[in-house]
């Protein structure tokens, strides 16, 4: 086990607050979880060496950063700085039916109720989920009342400073028929560790539009997750954007709890330099008649490494499931690496399930076509790469966020070199 983890466990052991009952359960699980090696299936391609080497301090430095302005994006802003929740976030007037609570200062009743929800959606197998369970203190809870549609989005931003650790935790509950947009933003580029976990309980007929922008770069280590439970006829539309860093990983789980629910997950990542990005996406079809459409695309340049594991698990009796997973990757350099594993585990016969994965270079014919029209090779390559990802940006339901991320993606492309 790593020294960092031993220290973290010692810290957790000495913390005593309302979360202690949960913490002790997760601590016990953590003690039984071996520190991952190359032989650990879930960490086969992702090494934790940078975390083991990182200089981290549990007492955070002062951080005065403010979230990046997104022009035209109307949102309630919840900000975490080095894992600490900015209480100013709670001064915003909220519409009827939307409740945002900072649990450490919430009523005893609310705290107790939250204990029953905490870590019920996020599966126990995620190592850093367990670590977040024992280290998170600044827990925020968001709830939308039955039948209420909140037009303004909720934006959760996690900012991190040098050598800091941030263990943020958010629980979102959409009651029956409610609808909400949540956009998670993770940023930072200095040596630091962030484990940001969000659990979403989407009750029957509720609708969640979700974004996670995992945009840490360089030295910022990020090991987080988002986990969704869908009730009957619930609907999830999620977009996940990843840039890589020394160590960056997102675990996501979509768990169907009621029939006729639907989920669409679009994810894309662009990696350059020595960056690593690892996405583990699991879909649990535990009940019949649900539909999943999953589209994951990656572009990997220079010496970067992409890891994707897409698991679709159709449980016994989950008949009439429709699940499709498509993973496409472009490799731009002979030092870059892509590891992808689209898995199907099926225990019901009347289902429609398919996955496809490709790793390819840029279509030479298309490249030639553009060149023949006088476009330079490098420009043509950027155009084609961009088109590959742009399709997914176009599918983002929120136009403002799409237009905010598009130029960032375009710039990132422009910097990528095709070397081989």
């Amino acid at each position: 086990m790593s020294v960092w983890l031993e220290n973290a466990i010692a810290r957790a052991n000495s913390t005593s607050d309302w979360l202690s009952p949960i913490r002790s359960v997760s601590l016990a699980a953590l003690k039984d979880t071996p520190w991952p090696t190359r032989k650990t299936e879930a960490w086969r391609y992702t090494s934790l060496k940078s975390l083991e080497r990182a200089t981290l301090s549990p007492s955070p430095s002062v951080n005065q950063d403010t979230p990046e302005q997104i022009d035209g994006f109307e949102s309630f802003n919840l900000v975490f700085r080095n894992g600490e929740f900015d209480l100013d976030s709670l001064t915003q007037p909220l519409p009827a039916g939307l409740m945002i609570s900072y649990l450490p200062t919430a009523s005893e009743e609310m705290k107790q109720a939250s204990l029953d929800e905490f870590s019920q959606i996020k599966p126990g197998r995620h190592l850093f989920g367990l670590i977040n369970d024992v280290l998170a203190q600044h827990v925020v809870r968001i709830e939308v009342a039955e039948g209420v549609s909140i037009s303004q989005a909720i934006r959760i931003t996690s900012l991190i400073g040098l050598n800091s650790e941030s263990h943020t935790r958010v629980f979102v509950k959409l009651n029956k028929g409610a609808s909400l947009t949540v956009s998670e933003h993770y940023q930072g580029n200095v040596e630091s560790l962030n484990t940001g976990f969000v659990e979403y309980d989407i009750c029957a007929e509720a609708k969640l539009e979700h974004y996670r922008f995992a945009l840490q770069t360089d030295k910022a280590i990020s090991l987080g997750g988002c986990h969704f439970k869908l009730g009957e006829r619930a609907d999830l539309n999620s977009t996940l954007v990843g840039f890589g860093s020394d160590l960056s990983r997102v675990d996501t789980d979509i768990i169907y709890d009621g029939e006729f629910a639907t989920a669409k997950l679009n994810a894309f990542y662009l990696l350059d330099g020595k960056e690593l990005f690892d996405l583990h996406a699991t879909v649990e079809h535990a009940v019949p008649n649900c539909t999943t459409l999953e589209n994951v695309r990656g572009i990997v340049a220079d010496r970067a490494k992409a890891v994707f594991n897409g698991r679709i698990h159709i449980h016994r009796h989950a008949q009439k499931t429709l699940a499709e997973l498509n993973n496409r990757n472009l490799l731009l350099s002979d030092k870059a690496e892509i590891n992808t594993k689209p898995e199907l585990e099926i225990y019901a016969d009347d289902v429609r399930c398919a996955h496809g994965a490709t790793v390819a270079e840029i279509d030479k014919h298309a490249l030639y076509y553009l060149e023949s029209r006088g476009i330079s090779r490098s420009k043509a390559q950027v155009m084609l790469n961009f088109g590959f990802i742009n399709e997914l940006i176009d599918q983002m339901p929120n136009q403002v966020l799409a237009e905010w991320i598009r130029p960032q993606i375009r710039n990132r492309f422009a910097e990528m070199e095709v070397t081989r």
Binding site: H317, L331, L344, E345, Y347, D349, D350, A354
Partner: protein, 478 residues
């Protein structure tokens, strides 16, 4: 509907009989002494014994792998007998006339006549019974062409240089737990050498039979196709119906030198256990080939037997422009479990691989495809295409796909597709409305599903595979 389909898939295990043959069998147990005795039984040279002992020590340090999607009761390696041979084989019969007629009858019953005149022309057979090779047919005819086809125990004596040069080079001793065990205790198997520029004049085939109780079978096959040569090799396996599990841990190594081609086909029909999962063979097999420049290795397998199958025939595409293929049909029923697939390791430039896997799950069985496609940094212009299709029959079985794709070359292209389907009510109704029995309809639909793989089998084996899945007609018309 499902009942009809299940019924259609039910079939008697026809190879389940036991031959009444007096055997010399080692007492159960595994230690260095046993290995020395195996080596002594084979009258092996010292280097072979040393190689075995080294492997045994490696094995002792290793752990049984647990990553496959299979569940089975722990194997007690001390309760297995590692050597069993018919007593009549002790004096090494010089010709078929000297072979115990009961042995010949056994193979006849299995549809493998060992008398050359009765055989299908064009197929030479090595018959391995428990731990020994009983007979190898057409040897003279093959030797005329310079082809060596003999039991590996004999090759160790007659062609020690060839065996030393290639044994363990494709599947190293340490490769995995079961391969290491095989290196220590292997008893017999076939050795094939095709000289430069030679097209092997016949199909070569080895027929493996486990007969004795409580024994494991640990065969070892080594096929070397020298530059520009060509060989097609077939392998079949059966075992009696018994209540306890028996272990089969084989290693097959293929070496395809520049421009050589090896086609390796398997129809695996080990006893699968009864409908409740009692008995049956544990089939833990390591098969791998290495392709040098412009060489080709093609694996075709039809896996219908065994209680547990753990098998990944693989290709190391080392030479530029080399080609690897894997065509597989795996059918699991009752409580059978299969975790099978392939690895295609692309090292050379412009290497190509194709993977077609068809898994059929019925009853309470579990059927997994597990594959790895790796494009190494030097695999400029390499290509892979993978198609994994699963057919589920009934709602108590499982069909799984675990494909690993690793690419480190920007000019390499990997394409992986997987689908899952079932025998639909509409398909069944169409067939029945045209007057076809439900059983026949199912076997037609299942065979249609497997067609891309069956067409890769040599004719003679396609027939056997067809019988296993009750094919008809195809090939005889049109």
């Amino acid at each position: 509907m499902t009942e009809q389909i299940d019924k259609a898939l039910e079939r008697e295990y026809e190879a389940g009989f036991v031959s009444d043959i007096e055997s010399e069998t080692f007492e159960p147990g595994l230690n260095e002494d046993i290995i020395r005795r195996i080596s002594a039984m084979k009258n092996e040279p010292e280097w072979m014994l040393e190689w075995r002992l080294k492997a045994f020590r490696v094995w002792l340090e290793m752990e049984e792998p647990d990553w496959a999607h299979i569940k089975y009761s722990k194997i007690d390696f001390q309760s297995i007998s590692y050597y069993s041979a018919p007593k009549s084989m002790k004096d090494k019969p010089k010709s078929l006339d000297e072979v115990d007629p009961e042995l010949i009858r056994t193979y006849e019953k299995l549809g493998i006549p060992l008398i050359e005149q009765q055989m299908l022309a064009g197929i030479a057979v090595d018959a391995v019974f428990d731990s020994v090779s009983v007979v190898t047919t057409f040897r003279e005819k093959l030797e005329e062409a310079g082809v060596i086809f003999c039991p590996i125990s004999e090759a160790v004596h007659r062609f020690p240089d060839l065996v030393k040069k290639y044994l363990g080079t494709v599947v190293p001793t340490k490769d995995n737990y079961f391969a290491a065990l095989n290196c220590a205790v292997f008893t017999d198997g076939s050795f094939v050498y095709i000289p430069k520029g030679t097209r092997c004049p016949m199909e070569l085939s080895t027929y493996f039979r486990i007969n004795e109780q409580n024994t494991g079978q640990f065969e070892r096959t080594l096929i070397v196709a020298d530059e520009g040569s060509h060989v097609s090799y077939l392998e079949g396996c059966t075992a009696p119906q018994r209540d306890e599990n028996q272990l089969h841990a084989a290693v097959v190594e293929l070496v395809a030198m520049d421009n050589a081609e090896i086609k390796y086909s398997t129809v695996q029909n080990w006893y699968p256990g009864d409908e409740n999962g009692k008995g049956g063979i544990y089939n833990f097999v390591t098969k791998r080939g290495i392709c040098h420049e412009s060489a080709k290795i093609s694996w075709t397998q039809v896996e219908t037997g065994s209680a547990v199958t753990w098998k990944y025939p693989s290709c190391i595409l080392k030479g530029d422009n080399s080609v690897g293929e894997f065509y597989s049909v795996a059918l699991t029923r009752s409580a059978q479990q299969a975790d099978t697939g392939t690895k295609m390791i692309h090292i050379g430039k412009n290497t190509k691989s194709t993977i077609i896997s068809k898994g059929i799950s019925a009853g309470r069985s579990n059927n997994s495809y597990r594959g790895l496609v790796r494009m190494n940094p030097g695999a400029q212009g390499a290509r892979n295409f993978t198609q994994c299709d699963s057919l589920l029959i009934g709602d108590q079985c499982g069909a799984h796909t675990f494909p690993y794709v690793e690419s480190r070359n920007p000019s390499a292209i990997v394409e992986h597709e997987a689908t899952t389907s079932k025998v639909s009510d509409e398909q069944m109704f169409l067939c029945r409305q045209r007057g076809i029995e439900p059983e026949k309809a199912v076997s037609m639909i299942v065979n249609g599903f497997c067609k891309e793989v069956f067409k890769e089998l040599p004719m003679e084996f396609a027939v056997e595979a067809g019988k296993l899945l009750e094919i008809s007609l195809e090939g005889s018309v049109g």
